[in-house]
């Protein structure tokens, strides 16, 4: 078991190193940050000086090595644009992204599970087919289009929700939350719905497939034969049995949502990590880009590693050969 753990963690670290390496490869093509940092009146000599001072003139491997050494000690440097410590900037933005992702996940479960059940037990009914069809649209609509349509309908035309921002936030220690104020809750709704649309479809299709599988099982037939009411058969017995994969998938998707929230965050000016990253790209703020990519890949890798370990704990076959 110990050997298995060490192997998994070593794997995870290798993945992180690879991500950082590719990130640095890309940075060579995003342009020259110094052009954005100095104003029009700076001379070429001043520009060259600043480049040298920031270490941008060093070779690729030297820059990469320096980044990995510093990052391993938790030092991601200072943002070129904001002149703040990168780690602090990201910590400041993390709560916004995390709340958005959690609310989006709750919405996707609350809507996706009932829809999945309905389309499974009423297979063939016109509304089931219609929902199936709509779900395809849900998957294929780009999220910035969804966001803008939501803004036009609910902010401009109906005036119900704000078009951008987090509303009012409350500070609890280093964590800022918008969930405790009315304005904050109103502000999170549109971006969360926009982010959850894809997820709803995913949950609905998964629940439907699992339900169809379970409904064919013997214990459902026996329950029906005993005269248990359909509602109880469906929701208490069948649905319970197909929630395991839904929970696993939802946990795994949180990493995805955090990464893809950047489009939603840009449309709604949601001050989260994704918006920070987009701004960093615009201004060639290399320290912020590098740290963001590393932290997001860390979240992915950590979630995956934890799931793997959990599976290994539950199922001895997975560690049998190796451990």
């Amino acid at each position: 078991m110990i050997a298995f753990l060490i192997k998994r963690i070593a794997n995870a670290m290798l993945v992180m190193l690879a991500v950082a390496f590719f990130a640095f490869m890309i940075f060579r093509f995003v342009g020259d940050p110094v052009e954005m940092m100095l104003n029009e009146q700076a001379t070429q000599a001043e520009r060259a000086d600043l480049r040298a001072k920031l270490g941008l003139e060093d070779g690729f491997l030297v820059q990469f090595g320096r980044f990995v050494t510093n990052a391993a000690q938790g030092d991601f440097g200072i943002s070129y644009r904001n002149q703040q410590e990168v780690i602090g900037l990201i910590a400041e933005r993390f709560p916004a992204t995390f709340e958005l992702v959690i609310v989006a996940t709750i919405i996707s479960l609350a809507v996706g599970i009932p829809l999945g059940v309905v389309t499974a037990i009423r297979r063939g009914a016109w509304y089931s087919e219609a929902l199936q069809f709509l779900s395809i649209i849900g998957v294929s609509l780009p999220s910035f289009v969804v966001g803008i349509v939501l803004i036009l309908v609910f902010s401009v035309t109906l005036g119900l929700f704000p078009a951008f921002g987090r509303g009012e936030t409350v500070q609890i220690g280093w964590w800022s939350t918008g969930l405790l104020t009315e304005l904050g809750r109103a502000a999170i709704l549109l971006p969360a719905v926009s982010l959850s649309l894809f997820q709803i479809t995913l949950v609905m299709r998964l629940v439907r497939a699992e339900m169809l599988e379970v409904l064919r099982a013997d214990f459902i037939k026996f329950a029906r034969a005993r005269g248990v009411p359909a509602r109880i058969v469906h929701f208490r017995h069948a649905l319970r049995n197909c929630l395991m994969p839904v929970v696993t998938m939802t946990a795994m998707q949180i990493g995805n949502l955090i990464a893809f929230a950047l489009i939603t965050e840009t449309v709604f000016q949601w001050p989260g990590m994704g918006l920070l990253f987009i701004q960093a790209v615009t201004f060639v703020d290399i320290p912020v880009m590098a740290a963001y990519l590393c932290i997001v890949s860390f979240i992915f890798v950590a979630l995956n590693t934890m799931v793997d370990i959990a599976y290994a704990v539950i199922d001895p076959r997975l560690r049998g050969a190796n451990g």
Partner: protein, 520 residues
């Protein structure tokens, strides 16, 4: 019935009270955030513009962009290299500290420090000495007529506050240590910083102790960056913001049609022109035809400026014959004549120069640079194709394109120049047209050299008589036109949009909102 009447009355009254209180809050939805609260942190004129509500300079621009006294009340030139400034008495910083000569000296030192990204904004500065509490002598490297123009953008900090918080020098990013002035501000300006959340909201409140009589009636400014253009438009339509300085061109008709929004349009001081590689070889090798005046003239004649204005810019730009706008000192209407579109003439000139079959070259444009730049470049490329030359369009974001431009990997490129912050034709002449030499010709990316112009610019740079100086600059600009060193295109349009509740908001041609002139 009486109860109903009271209820109605109460309702009307509370509505009136609410609007009276809210009317003075001005919500600015900007297309981008400021870099930090420290105006000397990042070479970014937008940050300086926004922070100008908090910090002031010794002099400032008035409603007509003429220079007027601000923290200095008067000045005299003691010798060509020493200027004496008398400071305004009775001014205090937001923290209550009085404004004195020491503050001026500390601020000038800070902005000219080796680590300051803005030291180029005050190129002539050598040293400052205190004469008494309210008199400062500023010593310069040499005679320099545009000191006041530069000083409009040099914000004055409180020396004591800087010392107390260890912020006397600008933040050095390479050291990786945060600076106090990045998160805190203490100026003398009409507004104070109340709070700041980067990328979310920065709140300014009115400074009741401001030394000047306010011409605005705002009590609070909520500055919110909304980077997505569609969201910004939606927020304006739904009344969540009162103003944006960047209304997208494609949404202007829709904004203008909305009853609660008004659109403000005019042309910017920023003049867009094309510059050319003048080295011996083209970017991709081979002899450079752009060194032949006839080729440059042919390329100029092949561009239909009116068509560009009417179609690409939707009639909103002003076609230009000079590289500066009419508002800029040194402008001459005689020189601002458009070169007529002449396809046959262009072809004849090319043939005469020995390129009847044209030649290929790299045309470098930015995707996020100037208004409608991509379409503009595509249109120009197809106009050039008609005379048989083959521009290879290379379009990418600014940070990617600039190294190519400075590194001789482009033959023709777009450049926009507003002459900011000095608002004088000396700015493009020294920075773009002058030969590359130390501080001069920083934007001379094509390595051209006209000794005649250099001599004029050098003479102008030390000429303290304004009329004589401007005459020299105009003469230099005449040569720029005659030699087709640049091909002027237009002054680009700028569009602001404000809520109908905003009564007065002057739109400045330098595209900088100055909210201390706003009435709501």
């Amino acid at each position: 019935m009486a109860a109903l009447r009271y209820a109605l009355l109460a309702g009307v009254m509370s509505a009136a009270l609410a609007s009276a209180a809210a009317a003075e809050t001005f919500r600015w939805g900007s297309s981008r955030d400021i870099g930090s609260l420290d105006p000397y942190s990042y070479g970014d004129s937008f940050t300086i513009n926004v922070m100008n509500h908090v910090y002031e300079g010794l002099v400032r621009y008035d409603r007509n962009l003429a220079i007027e006294p601000a923290l200095a009340t008067s000045w005299e030139v003691l010798s060509p290299t020493v200027w004496r400034f008398r400071l305004r008495e009775g001014v205090s910083f937001h923290n209550g500290n009085p404004f004195t000569a020491d503050d001026v000296i500390a601020s000038l030192k800070r902005v000219s420090h080796a680590d300051s990204p803005l030291k180029g904004n005050l190129p002539a500065y050598k040293a400052a000495t205190r004469v008494d509490d309210f008199t400062v002598d500023v010593e310069l490297n040499g005679a320099y007529p545009l000191l006041l123009n530069d000083l409009t953008n040099i914000h004055i900090f409180d020396a004591e506050w800087l010392a107390q918080h260890n912020a006397e020098v600008p933040t050095d990013i390479a050291k990786g240590i945060e600076g106090f002035a990045t998160f805190n501000a203490n100026g003398t300006g009409p507004f104070k910083v109340e709070s700041r959340q980067p990328d979310a909201k920065t709140v300014f409140v009115v400074n009741p102790g401001w030394w000047d009589t306010p011409q605005h009636n705002l009590t609070r400014i909520e500055f919110t960056p909304v980077s997505s253009a569609a969201t910004r438009v939606a927020a304006l339509l739904s009344g969540e913001i009162d103003f944006t300085e960047d209304a997208p061109v494609q949404d202007l008709p829709r904004l203008a049609a909305a009853p609660n929004v008004k659109v403000l349009e005019r042309t910017d001081l920023r003049t867009i022109f094309l510059m050319m590689n003048r080295r011996d070889e083209l970017a991709e090798g081979g002899k450079n035809p752009l060194n032949d005046l006839r080729v440059r003239q042919a390329m100029q004649k092949a561009i239909d400026l009116e068509l560009l204005r009417d179609r690409v810019m939707r009639g909103k730009s002003r076609a230009a014959g000079m590289i500066i706008a009419p508002e800029i000192p040194g402008y001459d209407a005689e020189l601002d004549k458009l070169t007529p579109y002449d396809l046959d003439g262009a072809k004849a000139l090319l043939a005469e120069a020995g390129y009847p079959d044209g030649f290929a070259f790299v045309f470098n444009c930015m995707s996020d640079g100037y208004v409608n730049e991509e379409q503009l470049c595509q249109a120009i490329a197809s106009m050039w194709a008609r005379i048989g030359i083959e521009p290879k369009l290379d379009i990418a974001p600014r940070p990617v394109q600039t190294p190519k431009r400075t590194g001789a990997k482009a033959d023709v490129w777009t450049l926009g120049w507003a002459t900011l912050p000095m608002l004088d034709s000396y700015s493009p002449l020294i920075q773009i047209i002058h030969s590359r030499d130390g501080n001069a010709g920083v934007f001379n990316w094509g390595d051209w050299s006209y000794p005649e112009i250099d001599a004029l610019v050098q003479k102008a740079s030390v000429e303290l008589d304004r009329d004589k100086r401007l005459a020299m600059q105009t003469e230099a600009l005449r040569i720029v036109g005659e030699e087709v060193i640049a091909i002027p295109l237009h002054q680009q349009p700028m569009s602001w949009a404000a809520s109908a509740e905003v009564d007065e908001i002057p739109q400045f041609p330098d595209n900088k909102p100055r909210l201390w002139f706003v009435k709501k």
